[in-house]
Symmetry: C2
Subunit: 146 residues, 2 copies
């Protein structure tokens, strides 16, 4: 894989976003500062990075692809309301993996544990304690809960 200005920008942009943006969201973010970078380049490179194991690809509730620059083992929490994906810094027991290998009689190469529910922001919004604010939502994009 050859280096390029675009690859640097895309990877750096992803690392800034802890709440695992979709390719589209990341493209829009990048586009603000680098209007010369095309959609195709963002999609192509995110997929290439994921293939090479540099980043992780997560499929969201609606089927859109989210990307995660953190390769440490961890779980995910998807909010059923806003669809945002948060990290949970827990690891799976290797016990569970070998049990699953036994059941399937297949070599397991990776796994993903995803919990679902309402995130705190949405829960508060639902119970009337909180009214959504575009800016605050934007800020969340660059702040992790983990």
């Amino acid at each position: 894989m050859r280096n390029s200005k675009q690859k640097d920008i895309i990877l750096r942009a992803l690392e800034e976003h802890c709440v695992h943006p979709t390719a589209e969201e990341l493209y829009k973010f990048i586009h603000q500062e680098h209007a010369d970078i095309g959609v195709a380049t963002v999609y192509r490179n995110l997929n290439k990075f994921a293939e090479k194991g540099i980043i992780r690809k997560i499929v969201g509730l609606d089927g859109s692809s989210h990307f995660d620059s953190c390769m440490e083992p961890h779980f995910h929490f998807i909010c059923d309301c806003c669809g945002k994906i948060y990290d949970i810094p827990m690891n799976i027991s290797s016990d569970l993996i070998s049990k699953a290998e036994e059941f399937t009689d297949c070599k397991i190469t990776s796994m993903d544990m995803t919990f679902r529910g309402l995130c705190r922001m949405c829960e508060e919004a639902h119970s009337g304690k909180y009214v959504f604010d575009e800016k605050e939502t934007e800020m969340l994009l660059t702040a992790s809960i983990s």
Copy 2:
């Protein structure tokens, strides 16, 4: 929710297919015998069933929606090669859930554990022991490994 001939057919077709077809696959299957049932009806009802908790919606590797008529707690294995989804009849420890709730400070309503790797068919195909056969692949659709 009102009853209809279509709902019956769709639900029964899903129950026959243990390898969790996509909405599209299920539509094509149904279409063979019931050419008068439209795509929209299949999509609409599968989503409605999933919403009501009658079936489960699983997002596949490519982001397509797969559906699972088994509501017993279990895990999934997705083959990285053919994309088929198999059941693993294991349950998660409630311990893990409460730990995750602690970490996120959110009420967790559901979870999904997905393992990935090569299924036996694909592994054998890759190692040259096996050559894919359309009919056999089709048959797999109506046979579960669990």
